[in-house]
Each structure stands twice: as structure tokens, then as C-alpha cells.
């Protein structure tokens, strides 16, 4: 059962075929077997998970019919969880136990989910390979010599390897979609403002957005139902009428207008990924969709603009980690300046420090106009490109990543790592919703396809993704046996 979708587990729980305690124990067993190798979890909450599962079972007997009741979940360690270690993948917070819950965590608690643990991630979500975590690399379950992608690599690996039924992730420049593509699962980044950022440790405030990491588009819809909604604690969260994202999953795609950005099929895209995405597009045509090329003229500027805006915001967001109130503090500081310097030098990893320096530089007097202001202008141009495209098409489809998962340690040059997110970053800059779903396997590694929608068109994307998954089996492909392996429920 642990390799089932949330929808299936939910049905089994409802039918009484299985209890939440049983399925929770099965996941805990599998975590115990595989986490040592995959390193997907930083913290496993065995005891409290079983308590929550028992409470969920009791709730069900008492008439609770929440669709997520008793479903075991993993939260990315960027979400603050009350009384549980919340590290953000950093030495800086290696000892930080949050006194409060993130809104996302709170909403899943309210929905009755069972928290299995907190997943590994790139430090402060800065990375595309999960190699910057203070808690070590996460291994790709399809090939443990490869990266799972990042920054939500722990969540993606956990879902792919059946170490949980579903997981939360966050996406600032592709951090849900790229690991979803690398691990052969479904990842969804909602429109900016859909999901509250309260309690989600900030990387780049104007880009960060939480979303589901699941085994199917339907599961993503179920998770989104619980996650979205106005939160008065987050001033950037948006008030929208309540929506059931599962409601339109089964709409036929006849007449769907798909835009294909020529810039996403240009130089740098691997042949196997291109072929897989083209095959998927052919499948859509069979379902009655029409394909049209669209021009995202300024997409080549997105990585550059992103690497000004995101580090600039991060440089301020990470100033609070100063050793004064919580988290890491260097030993025996001689004075205030020494405490600041050593705490931050020792507490942050290389990539985080690099981005703080880039951001600090971009905001410096005399450089602000040349960098930050110009990047904000580019952001507007990129958004305009999408707006124009969505006048003619319903969704935009292309590859999520130019290639399959790469080998651990193979990318030592930061810029080549930054280019990993070449197709995903523009979506964050424009604040749009987008999914990545599996569309094939090459050389034993999965490949992902990105579906981008207009602002607040989550339901449309999910519909498009779900229909594909109704007619293909790529999302059911599983990693081969992992080392010690196969603890089934």
C-alpha cells in the first residue's frame, strides 16, 4: 500500500481496509530501512506520528471524513513545526526547535495528516542538487549516485522511494519542479500568494511559494485543497473564493490550446528529454488539444534577473541569523563583531554565503540601479511575455529540466548549477502556477515535463496533468530496487 497514491490510501482508510496506524508504521519501517542510504529525512517523528495516526483512526470512528485524514506526510525542513527541530538544512539552525507551526503545517494538521518527519533540503533552499545541505547529500532513489534535484530534494526522494505518501516542498526558482522531474514524480508550484508563507523560512520573499510533491496530479489537487487560502498572517497571501481542485480533473481536453515556447526547445536541451516532451505533446493532440508555438522573448534574461532579485532578498532575509537570539552561535566570541563574523562564517555554508555576498553587492549604493532595479524591470518584461502568450493559449508546456539527474559532485561551477533552473525560473519571476509531471525514463532516470498556467489557473494545469496521467503510465514508473529495499505494507 505504501506505493499507492494518496487518493488510493484515502479510499482504503475510508473503506476500513487499512488503519492509519498500520500505514504509518509501514512508512516508518521503510524510512528505517532506506533513509540511511537516501538521507531524505533530517528528522523522523516516529512516536508522534504513531500518536497522530491513532488519533486519526479515532477521529474516523467518530465520523471525521476529511480526505487527508490519517495520510502520512513529510514536510520540507523549511516549514516551522512546533516542538520539532526545524533546520532549513543549515548548521545555523541545527539546534532550532520552533515554538510555532507554519500555516501550511497547521492546515495539514487540521486536515488530520500524520507527520512522519522533516525532509532534507539544500541549505536555506539555495541549490538545485540538494548537495548544499549541512545534513549531507540526498541520493536519488532511481540511482543513488545521482542527485535528487533541489532544493526540495528530500521531499522528492521521499515521495519517489515511498518513504511517505506525499510531501510539501517550496519553489523559489524551480525547487519543487526540478526535483520532481529528477525523481519521476509530480510537483506543483502554485501561483504566488496562493499558499501562506507564514512559518516558511524565507529565502526570496517575492518568489517563494509552497506546493505539493506527490505521486499523481490528483494527489497534488488533494494537497492543494488543504494548503491554499487567505492567511491574515501573510500580507502577500491572496483572498480567492474556495476552490475544489479535484472538481475539474476529469474535464476532457478537446479544444485545449497548448503553447510551446520555442526558447524551451533550443540549444542545451538533451535529445532524450526533447523526445519525451514531444511524445507527450503528441499524446495531448490525440486527446484533442492543439499545439501552437509561443514566443517568450525575454526568457534568456530570467536566470540573470533571478540571480539578482533572489540573492538581494535573501541577503536581508538571512540577516536575522546573527547568533543573538537562537540558532548557532560561535564559541567564545571576544566582542560583538567577532560574534557576528564567526557565527555567520561558521553557521552558513559556501553557497549561502556566496548568495548573501551577491545580494549585498547588488543592493549596494551605486549598484542598485544597475542590478536590482534593472532586474525588477526584466521581471516585468518576463511577465508581459507570459501575459501575451496566455492570450492565445490555455497552458504552456515544455521540459522541466534540460536533462535527467546528474551525478553527485559533478557540478562544481556555481553558474552551471544556476543554469539548471533555466526553464523554471521565469515562472517564479512572473508569479505563475506550474507543475512538473513525469513523461519518460532514459538511461534509468526519469524525465519531467513542465505545464505552466495563467495566474490562478491551478485547476486547469491539474486537469491537463491528470488527463495525461489517465492515458499514460509514466507517473507509475518506480525506481528499481534500492539497496536493502522493499519493505511492503
Amino acid at each position: 500500500m505504501i506505493n499507492s497514491t494518496v487518493a488510493e490510501i484515502s479510499a482504503a482508510l475510508k473503506a476500513g481496509d487499512i488503519s492509519s496506524v498500520e500505514i504509518t508504521q509501514a512508512y516508518l519501517n521503510r524510512i528505517a530501512k532506506l533513509n540511511g542510504e537516501l538521507n531524505a529525512y533530517i528528522t523522523v517523528c516516529e512516536e508522534s506520528a504513531l500518536e497522530q495516526a491513532a488519533a486519526a483512526d479515532a477521529g474516523r470512528s467518530a465520523g471525521n471524513t476529511s480526505p487527508l485524514l490519517g495520510i502520512p506526510i513529510a514536510h520540507k525542513d523549511i516549514f516551522c513545526t512546533k516542538d520539532i527541530l526545524t533546520t532549513c538544512g543549515s548548521r545555523m539552525l541545527h539546534n532550532f526547535v520552533s515554538p510555532y507551526n507554519a500555516t501550511v503545517v497547521e492546515r495539514f494538521n487540521d486536515a488530520g495528516t500524520v507527520l512522519l518527519g522533516k525532509t532534507n533540503m539544500d541549505e536555506f533552499a539555495m541549490g538545485s542538487s540538494n548537495e548544499t545541505s549541512f545534513f549531507g547529500d540526498v541520493k536519488n532513489p532511481w540511482n543513488t549516485e545521482c542527485v535528487p534535484g533541489g532544493s526540495s530534494g528530500g521531499s522528492a526522494a521521499a515521495v519517489a522511494a515511498d518513504l511517505c505518501a506525499m510531501a510539501t516542498g517550496t519553489d523559489t526558482g524551480g525547487s519543487i519542479r526540478q526535483p520532481a522531474a529528477f525523481c519521476g514524480i509530480t510537483g506543483f508550484k502554485p501561483s504566488y500568494g496562493r499558499v501562506s508563507r507564514w512559518g516558511m523560512i524565507a529565502f526570496a520573499s517575492s518568489l517563494d511559494q509552497a506546493g505539493p510533491i506527490t505521486k499523481s496530479a490528483e494527489d497534488a489537487a488533494l494537497m492543494l485543497n488543504a494548503m491554499v487560502g487567505l492567511d491574515e498572517k501573510d500580507s502577500t497571501s491572496i483572498d480567492r473564493p474556495a476552490e475544489d481542485f479535484t472538481a475539474s480533473l476529469n474535464q476532457p481536453l478537446k479544444g485545449l490550446r497548448i503553447g510551446v515556447p520555442k526558447q524551451h526547445f533550443a540549444q542545451g536541451l538533451s535529445m532524450e528529454v526533447e523526445e519525451a516532451v514531444r511524445n507527450a505533446l503528441a499524446e495531448y493532440e490525440k486527446l484533442g488539444a492543439t499545439i501552437k508555438e509561443v514566443d517568450l522573448t525575454n526568457s534568456h534574461l530570467s536566470v540573470s534577473a533571478y540571480y539578482v532579485v533572489a540573492p538581494a532578498e535573501a541577503s536581508a532575509n538571512l540577516s536575522r541569523f546573527d547568533g543573538v537570539r537562537y540558532g548557532y552561535r560561535c564559541e567564545d566570541p571576544v566582542d560583538l563583531e567577532d560574534m557576528y563574523k564567526r557565527t555567520r562564517s561558521e553557521g552558513f555554508g559556501e553557497e549561502v554565503k556566496r548568495r548573501i555576498m551577491i545580494g549585498t553587492y547588488a543592493l549596494s549604493a551605486g549598484y542598485y540601479d544597475a542590478y536590482y532595479r534593472k532586474a525588477q524591470k526584466i521581471r516585468r518584461l518576463i511577465k508581459d511575455d507570459f501575459d501575451r502568450a496566455f492570450e492565445e493559449v490555455d497552458v504552456i508546456i515544455g521540459p522541466t529540466s534540460p536533462h535527467t539527474a546528474f551525478k553527485l559532485g559533478s557540478k562544481s561551477d556555481p553558474v552551471s548549477m544556476y543554469l539548471e533552473d533555466i526553464y523554471t525560473i521565469a515562472v517564479n519571476l512572473a508569479g505563475l502556477p506550474a507543475a512538473s509531471i513525469p513523461v519518460g525514463v532514459a538511461n534509468g532516470l526519469p524525465m519531467g515535463m513542465q505545464i505552466i498556467g495563467a495566474y490562478f489557473d491551478e485547476a486547469k494545469i491539474l486537469n491537463v496533468a491528470h488527463q495525461f496521467q489517465q492515458h499514460t503510465d509514466w507517473h507509475k514508473q518506480k525506481p528499481g530496487p534500492i539497496a536493502s529495499n522493499e519493505g511492503e505494507a
Binding site: 507564514w198 500580507s235 540577516s319 549604493a365
Partner: protein, 476 residues
Amino acid sequence: MEWETVIGLEVHVSLSTKSKLFSGSSTEFGADPNTQASIFDCALPGTLPVFNEEALRMAVRFGVAIGAEIGKQSVFDRKNYFYPDLPKGYQVTQLDFPTVGKGALTVTLSDGSEKVIGVTRAHIEENAGKSLHEEFHGMSGIDLNRAGEPLLEIVSEPEIASAEEAVAYLKKLHTIIRYLDISDAIMAQGSMRCDVNVSIRPVGETELGTRTEIKNINSFRFVEKAIISEVQRQQEILEDGGRIIQETRRYNADKDETTSMRSKEVANDYRYFPEPDLLPVVIDDEYIAAVKAQLPELPDAKRSRFAEEYALSEYDAGVLVSSRELAEYYEIVASQSDDAKLAANWVSQDLLGLLNKNNWELADSPIQAERLAMLITRIKDKTISGKIAKTVFETMLEDESDVDTIIENKGLKQVTDSGEIEKFVDEVISNNPDQVQQYKDGKQQVIGFLVGQCMQLSKGKANPAQVNELLREKMQ
């Protein structure tokens, strides 16, 4: 050489919202350290700001009161610097799009002249916490109760030409802020603080001289003294052929001098950028009109009205409107006693004298407006004389009984019984034959002495007009 002084003031006022600018924590003064610091105020990871709209209303209220342009779209920015009492590592403030734009204040100077001083802008920002360096044995304590409290920073144009003008500007600002009820504006408690930018230049020079900034002065008197001493210092340096260093200085009241704090030439680069956790605050004309409609009568308008309605001098009216409470107090006294002039004298002299002597606020006064009005009524209906009234006033400080009871119990009621007065008059005439003769010889002014004698004899209780009349009659 003749020098002229150029001063600009930056005044920080704590807005008296119930909760902080971006969190629900209380802003009550004087709580135990860190008992009013929420997880947001402590800058825990993942916490986010939510703007307190009451601060916006107060800022707009100030803006419309000084006739300023109101920013229809205010944008918050992050001002980045590291300090232990700044938990987020940045202060949220408004850089390019403040809520209040250009406005002006009119101040009255001691020679009676008026001067208009421009206000460049007023922006909303959050306060920092407090660092406590004593009592911790080589460590510092951080109190975050104050962190995140809303401030309005009011920046003047460099149009202030003297210490006197600076104080007049500050007092006017203080009065308006208190009228608007947007801050306690108590300098001693830090709810109003002032940074002074001072430079001097030869008279006739159009370029500004190098300025120094004197930080955190906490009383009107010290502002005045700090400016005088800083102008003196700059003048001495320049006259000796020296150069003023642009720097931040602090005023040492004990030594009456300013001393260097840090050089601005190696100033922080604050790396301002728009705060992405907050949306721009957008308001429309309707909002501004609604705030304007709720403005109280402001000091200048009230002064004009008092001068006209109560036939007072501009000066007296100015004294009475110096605080909203005092003006209200005066209007009660004036209407209940039905004698605006007498009321003005009693309030501006006796009452204010009493408050100043005891260093009391109006609210501390044991003499409420209704009691003072009654006292004046008793002067008017001749129950007591003006002189006896002073005695009653003194008694009222310790005795909470009503005015009539005090007059009765102390036997201070004016003697108007002509038979009784006649006794005093007869006695004085018989005891002072010389003066009586002088009067009869035409030296009219002697009457004053004789009236005084009668008053003394009656222990002040005789009606002086009656005494006067009867004396003249009897000496004819």
C-alpha cells in the same frame, strides 16, 4: 565675520497605537523586558509582518493637520544594518514613497513674529529594541519590548535659523501631535526624540556649510542648549581656519557641550530595497477626506477663535491653546463662570503657575475646571473679593470641598452688611486723623491708604467698593 545658522530637525514620534507596527504585541510602556515581544518581534524564522492600519490613519491625520501632501501609495523598504537590538537585521521604513509628503508649520517667535517652517516629509517606520549594557557582567541584555513599535519620523526643511526657532518648531509639533492624539510625545520617556542637523555659513553665502548631526536629544531645553553650544563650537573652528567634520555628535548636558559619536564619512551603506513581505499601502481621496473630517480644532484655529470669541489678546489665547486639555479646561471655566476675561487670567496665571511650580500635568491639578469656575462666580457675585479668592484657591489645593463650603468654613465671606462696614470705617477715621485731614485738604489719593486700613481691619472680607463709598461719604 557674521555667521548664520542653518538647522534641520528629524523628530521621531512614537505613535500611540495599541499594538505594534507589524505584530499584535502590546505597546504599553514600562513592562518587564521581553514580555511584549512576539515571535515576529524576536524575528523568528518564517515570521512575517502585518501592517497595523491604525499607524497609517495616525500618519495621515498628522499629514492633513499640517496641510501636507498625502502619499496615495506608500511603500515600505528594508534598511539593512546589524545591531543586536535590531532583530531582523533590517528596519522597515519608507524611503521613496512616504505616507506624508511636503507640508509646513507656522511658529510664533518671542518677538511676536511668525515664521513658516517647511516639513519635507513624515514616514512610518519601526522602532528598534533596547540594548542594556549594565548589570550583565561583561555581557549586554537585549529588551525587545520596544522593537517594532510604530514611529513617525518627521523631517523638517533646513529652514530653521536659531535655537529659539528650533524650540518653537518642536513645541508647535508637540502641541499638534498632542491635539491629534497620535502620540504621548513625552520627550523624557522617549516617545518624542529629536535629531538636530546643524551647520553655519557666512551671512550672504548660499552654499550650505558642512553639518553635524546631534542625536537623540530628550528635552526642549537641551535642544536649545545643544544648538547654542554646537553653533559656538563650529564658529570657533571656522574662525580658527579649521574645517567642520561631517559626523554624528551627542549632547552632554552636564558639560553643556557636544562630543563626537562617530564619523558619517564611514557611514553604513543601508542597502535599501522595497520590503517584499508587505504590499504597497494604497489609499484614495475618500480615505483622506474621512481622516480630515475627523480632525479636531487645531491650535491655530482655536487661538483665533479664542481671541475673537472671548476677546482675549493673541498672546493670552496662544497660552490657553498650548495644549488641547488646557484649552478644554479654559472653555469650561469661561462658560460656567460666564466671564471669559477673568477665566483667562485665572487659568493662564494662577492655574498654570500652580502647575509649573509643582511640575504637574493638568490632569494632576486638584482644582478642576468646575471648581475654578465656581470660585470666579463667587468673585463676580461679590461673595468674596479677588484677593480673598487667592486664599480660597490655596485652600482648594488641600481641601476638596466645594468652593462655597470652603468660604463658609473659613469665614471668608465678604462683608456687605453696611452696618458692619460702617464700624470699620468709623474706626479707621478716628484712628487716622492726619490722613483724614489730608483728604479733606484735597489729597484724594489718600483714600487708598484708608481703604487698605479698613480691609485690614476686616481681615480682607469687607467689600472694597462699599468701603470706598462710605469713606468718601463720611469724610465730606
